[in-house]
């Protein structure tokens, strides 16, 4: 087995609260467009947080990517976002659908969080409770199993390598990309479609609402709700959507003349073990710092060379803790500290879909040479001001050459992932 193959990103697909499709998403990021709106059903069901980031997916857009039968059958939003992002990434990579092709060197890792808590599930449970199980049909299980997106995508792509679906809460998306990167790097696969998605609605968001972790002070001002790193951050705004990336062995990508958005230089996935301050819902900072350091070490770059941190940064009291972990892990002079941005300031927290959507955003920023601004910071959190200069956290989009991005996500269960991207040069 040959080791240390170079791995590049050649395709992107995204369904996000502020834009559907790669080009619209890049435009939305540059323009700092919020995708957060008031959702009437959340008020009707007495949620404290009545705002969220729901993608707008037109029938026309669905039909441009989904085969007719899938468009008719799919009603789980997590599955729809997943299939749309996966198919867009596939086509964006210049690849075609060939129903006669079987490719043992292609794999899929499309993860999810709580696919079975999408709002499409409610009417199904109503059927069961009414004794009408027969009406569930064949699409209930295939859309509620967590491997649903991978399975549906594979029906179109014919992958014969590893086809699986990770689930690591808010860390799922970045973890999926790192797993795909590791398979290609180690020579076990040549091409991987990686991503993650999360559905929407009162069930999943109600469960978070009950934990009292959502933003409840902006129901009348939805676009202001998600404000990571702010002195007034008051909880995260839930979101939905999906993101996908085609990862490829460099030689394979070059041989077919593929467009390369970025190279993946390294990545790490670890856990804090729910020890040393870590718990189901809080991170073990020592492990977070180790995850970041390990990823940088594997990438073989200096901390000083990192241009941008794309943080997890959810608009909760954990933001100052996260940034302190970045400061400790990078251990660079203040002047050398990278820029920091939080895509969640525009799209909210898309739970298991977050990492993939934000990673697509990183690839677009690297390829498009810009750092999107952070929306809604009127005043930085005082604990952040103590450790990071204000100018490192831009409130307007900056056009700048980006060479290296560090992207991280952290999830319930005390799990961490960090990936390092570099602008591609042969």
């Amino acid at each position: 087995m040959s080791l240390n193959k170079r791995v590049v990103i050649t395709g992107l697909g995204v369904v996000a609260p502020n834009a559907t499709g790669k080009e619209a998403f890049e435009h939305a990021l540059r323009g700092m467009k919020s995708g957060i709106t008031r959702i009437p059903t959340l008020a009707e069901h007495n949620l404290g947080c009545q705002i969220a980031g729901e993608p707008e997916v037109s029938e026309e857009y669905k039909l441009s990517l989904l085969p007719q039968l899938l468009n008719k059958m799919l009603d789980n939003h997590g599955v729809i976002y997943g299939c749309l992002s996966g198919l867009e990434a596939w086509k964006d990579a210049g690849l075609t659908l060939d129903y006669d092709k079987f490719d043992p060197e292609l794999g899929i890792i499309y993860g999810g969080g709580a696919l079975s808590m999408d709002e499409s599930i409610g009417p199904r449970f109503d059927l069961v409770n009414a004794g009408q199980v027969k009406k569930l049909g064949t699409k209930t299980i295939t859309q509620s199993m967590n491997s649903g997106v991978s399975a549906y995508l594979n029906g179109m792509l014919g992958a014969g390598n590893r086809v699986m679906s990770n689930s690591s809460a808010c860390s799922t998306g970045t973890e999926a990309a790192i797993m795909g990167y590791e398979l290609i790097k180690s020579g076990k696969a040549k091409r991987m479609l990686c991503g993650s998605s999360e559905g929407k609605g009162k069930y999943i968001w109600g469960a978070f609402d009950s934990m009292r972790v959502l933003c409840r002070d902006s129901n009348d001002n939805p676009t202001f709700g998600s404000r990571p790193m702010s002195s007034t951050s008051s909880g995260f705004v839930p979101g939905a959507g999906g993101g996908a990336l085609v990862l490829e062995e460099l030689d394979t990508a070059l041989a077919r003349g593929a467009r390369i958005y970025a190279e993946i230089l390294g990545g790490d996935v670890n856990s804090g073990g729910q020890r040393m301050g870590g718990s189901m819902t809080a991170p073990n900072s020592t492990a977070v710092q180790a995850c970041i350091k390990n990823a940088i070490k594997e990438a073989g770059v200096t901390p000083e060379s990192i241009d941008l941190i794309s943080g997890h940064l959810t608009s909760t009291m954990a933001d100052p803790i996260e940034l302190n972990n970045w400061v400790e892990a990078l251990n660079v002079k203040t002047a050398d500290f990278p820029l920091v941005n939080a895509t969640k300031s525009m799209i909210g927290h898309c739970i298991a879909g977050a990492g993939s959507i934000e990673l697509v955003g990183c690839a677009l920023q690297m390829h498009g040479n810009f750092v999107h601004g952070n929306l809604n910071i009127e005043e930085l959190h005082p604990e952040i001001l103590k450790i990071i200069p204000t100018e490192k956290i831009p409130t307007a989009t900056v056009e700048t050459n980006l060479n290296i991005i560090a992207k991280a996500n952290f999830g319930f269960g005390d799990v961490n992932s960090c990936i390092i991207l570099r602008k591609f040069s042969s």
Binding site: L69, K72, K135, G137, T138
Partner: protein
């Protein structure tokens, strides 16, 4: 409804489940749903649900097992419509 009217409508019901659309061109009574139209066997369940909804009838498991061809499917629909 006549047999021919149902046949015309049933083509619309099964069309999404048929990947090779040209197989729908000559829909004779003897055409088999799985064997000839290459419909995924799991989707026969969904076709039955679509038919139940369209004609507001209930098709029991025994009848589903009889619906192997287009002609047999039409027979079952006609029979259930009479009863309901």
């Amino acid at each position: 409804m006549t047999k021919d009217e149902i046949k015309a409508e049933i083509k619309g019901v099964i069309e999404p489940y048929v990947m090779q659309k040209e197989l729908l061109d000559n829909l004779s009574d003897e055409i088999q749903l799985i064997g000839d139209l290459k419909i995924n066997s799991a989707h026969v369940v969904d076709i039955v649900l679509d038919i139940e909804e369209k004609y507001d009838i209930t098709i029991d498991d025994e009848s589903i097992n009889k619906m192997n061809t287009i002609g047999e499917a039409i027979e079952v629909i006609l029979e259930k419509m009479k009863k309901d």
